[in-house]
Amino acid sequence: MDVVDVSRWQFGITTVYHFILVPLTIGLAPMIAVMQTVWYVTGNEQWLRATKFFGKLFLINFALGVATGIVQEFQFGMNWSEYSRFVADVFGAPLALEGLVAFFLESTFIGLWIFGWDRLPKRLHLAAIWLVAIGVNASAYFIVAANSWMQHPVGVHWDPVRGRPAMDDFWAVITNNTTLAAFPHVIAGALLTASTFVAGIGCWWMARNMWRAKRLEDAADAAIDAEPVPDAVSPSHVDATPEQLRDDAHTLWRPVARFGLWLTVVAGVALFITGDFQAQIMFKQQPMKMAAAESLCESETGAGFSVLSIGRQNNCDNIDHVITAPGMLSFLADHRFDTRLQGVKELQAQYAKEFNKPEQNFAPNLFVTYWSFRAMITWAVGSALLAFAGLWFTRRKQVISSRRFGLFALWMLPAPFLANSSGWIFTEMGRQPWVVAPNWVDNLDPLRISMFVHNGVSRHTAGTVWVSLITLTLLYGILGLIWFGLQRRYVIEGPSARSDVASSSGDDADTDAPEQLSFAY
């Protein structure tokens, strides 16, 4: 592999890794803020337990999200210095603003939230988590705006003196229609991830409590003096009576799960609408990406949506469409069944002529784009299944007591993560071979304001980049395993006992009295 390939793998691995953690952070922060708000307003202690329980999981995730995010800030300069020079005028601004507006906000107030349980008045402490939630979402906006500019550059003109695009309309850059379509889609995906996470864990605990209560009662009825709970992994709940377990299932886990399940439905609808909107923009602005995603090789009027195709190679010559929904692809493109869509071959010929580069392949990897697009949609179905089944089984004050459904809920947790990754892999690999895609629609000097990926890479040897690729992959791999292990332990441990959560707050004595800190690392 040459330096371009190694650098691409390196960026892909570190970014996909980062974005496993990011959606959970973006989605879970507002969900925790809502939980804490409900506790603040109603005084219902169960919501405080939920806040603290999901707060722990949130922080375990937040740490690794921050750690993997640091690398991203420097990678552009390290591995893509030619690209950085080319786009510095536009691309740096959202990055700097992300740091200034969002990173400072979230990192300062997460510290105040973690350590401020008994230092801050309740109202300020609640404001802290809301500001964290705003910070993580604002950060997503800026970085999506930066990414969208690479997909669809706007707000610039060609500067012949410097030989690169110069920004002339910052407002256009941050209100890029690609950004306005991508940001809600990303946020909806993040909410789907977090709501599935909360709903899945809530359903599992609900089922677990009911099941354990039944086991305890059966054991008591049979007067067997054996160990009552064989699967007692969480020490704080071993002593719980069947009544307490049932009560928690009804008053803690059912509301928490239904909060997650309803949000999953809302996020799913939002994903559908924003995805449709995004697809229509993409058909106009990046026709090659969409043609590749549908493996639409020949231009067609009233093109069909390929549900399944078989292709041995990454090219147009041996793809067989097995199942096709007629006219659907044209409908996706602009809501008419008879629109003519350009295929990969026609677009290839057109670009080769415009750029006068007959040797250049202008199509992305057809195999990856085709399957990542389908994987994204398919994985999202996992969350939908959980949402509909969960809402049905908890209708009219019912609780879930089926152990099998509890396990099913847990098994659905990875689905939205995989959907997010698939979506980003599609978006980013569909942009190939461009790092800055030419903008034909706004006629923005596309021949010059565009850049091939192989022109954006730093002039390192492949060996140099191999070192960072291997180092970061190994490090991330190890940390990923630890992250998973910690999340698993803390999910199984469950929320703290009721007697533990009540804490007095707002009593800010400024003596050196050795009163213990409410939280310490």
Binding site: A88, L105, T108, G111, A520
Partner: protein
């Protein structure tokens, strides 16, 4: 002063803020193995150290991310050449920062001595490595790198390991260690405060010698007439730090190390200007404020944003320091609430 010059100052301020605030974070991390060692309550002592920076270290680190972003936005050419040239030092710094973040956050999650030992190793690595390498990197920026006409770095990793740069690394290492010890003495009570004060005395003396030589070398080799000012101020502050730590005037000592760091940063950036990265190959190939800056329009937008948002950021970050201003003692550390180890 034009906008490019203004943004050169902004970058200097951001890195200065980063070194002042993360400086004591690194120092605390570097001192954790020492101040916690050899006592029965070793682990509690280490937790006292960690919790002095607990609520604030994350936001301190953001100064670096914002400095990086601002460099990209205002001086894209500088960002591109510098970060691709400093490839391996930067990679090591990033690895250090990554393991430090997760070690700090995950340390208390599992109540097991071996788990905590590994986290302490991570905090140590993540404090020692960047504390050393930031000095190496910045000394090399002032000294210059082999850069060709196309602004490409033509050296290797070993180009970066010259005596001046290594002295720079030793300087930041000692300055940050001293800054951390002084900060600890200011933020704790009881035995930790006494221990930290003892370390602060010894470290500040070593700092005075090494930083003095480094500053003098910088001034004589790369300085301008006016940079004698910050050099003298930094040197006086270092002397003041020694005197204050001997008298255990903790507030003064912290002010002194802070001024020493700011003076050093002004000296380095002042010596650099109007270059942002000199070429040792040919002065004609220097990267300068002029030839790497972004367009006037971009800088104008960024200036408006910075002027409106920065005061707000400084206000709430300052407030968070105010909220957590109390000193911490061993008695205040609650028992670990981490889950037990799975190993029987």
């Amino acid at each position: 002063m034009g906008l490019p010059e203004f943004w050169f100052v902004v970058i200097a301020v951001l890195f200065g803020g980063y070194f002042v605030l993360e400086g004591f974070d690194f120092g605390v991390g570097m001192l954790m193995p020492f101040i916690g060692r050899g006592h029965e309550s070793g682990d509690t002592r280490r937790r006292v150290l960690l919790n002095t920076i607990g609520p604030v270290w994350d936001a301190n680190e953001v100064w670096l991310l914002t400095a990086g972003g601002a460099m990209f936005a205002a001086f894209g050419g500088w960002y591109a050449t510098l970060f691709s040239a400093m490839y391996f030092p930067l990679l090591l710094i990033l690895v250090g920062l990554i393991v430090r973040v997760v070690s700090i956050e995950w340390r208390g999650k599992i109540n097991d001595p071996r788990w905590r030992m590994w986290c302490d190793v991570g905090i140590g690595l993540g404090s020692w490595i960047p504390a050393l390498l930031w000095g190496v990197a910045f000394a090399n920026v002032v000294r210059g790198l082999p850069i060709d006409a196309e602004h490409q770095f033509t050296g290797s990793f070993f180009t970066l390991l010259n005596p001046y740069a290594l002295l720079g690394g030793l300087t930041t290492l000692l300055v940050f260690a001293t800054h951390g010890a002084v900060f600890l003495a200011l933020k704790t009570t009881g035995v930790i405060r006494d221990d930290a004060a003892r370390y602060a005395v010894r470290l500040s003396m070593a700092m005075l010698v090494v930083a003095g030589v480094f500053l003098l070398w910088t001034q004589l080799a790369y300085g301008k007439d006016w940079t004698w000012g910050p050099v003298v101020i930094a040197a006086l502050a270092a002397v003041g730090a020694v005197a204050a730590t001997l008298r255990r005037a903790e507030g003064l000592a912290f002010a002194a190390t802070t001024i020493a760091i700011i003076g050093t940063v002004i000296t380095l950036f002042g010596s650099l200007y109007p270059n942002v990265l000199p070429s040792t190959t040919n002065p004609a190939y220097n990267l300068t404020v002029e030839n790497t800056s972004s367009s006037h329009y971009t800088l104008t937008i960024m200036t408006w944003a910075a002027c409106f948002i920065t005061p707000v950021v400084i206000a709430y970050q300052g407030w968070s320091y105010w909220v957590f201003r109390q000193r911490i003692s061993i008695e205040q550390i609650p028992p670990s609430i981490g889950l037990p180890s799975l190993r029987a």
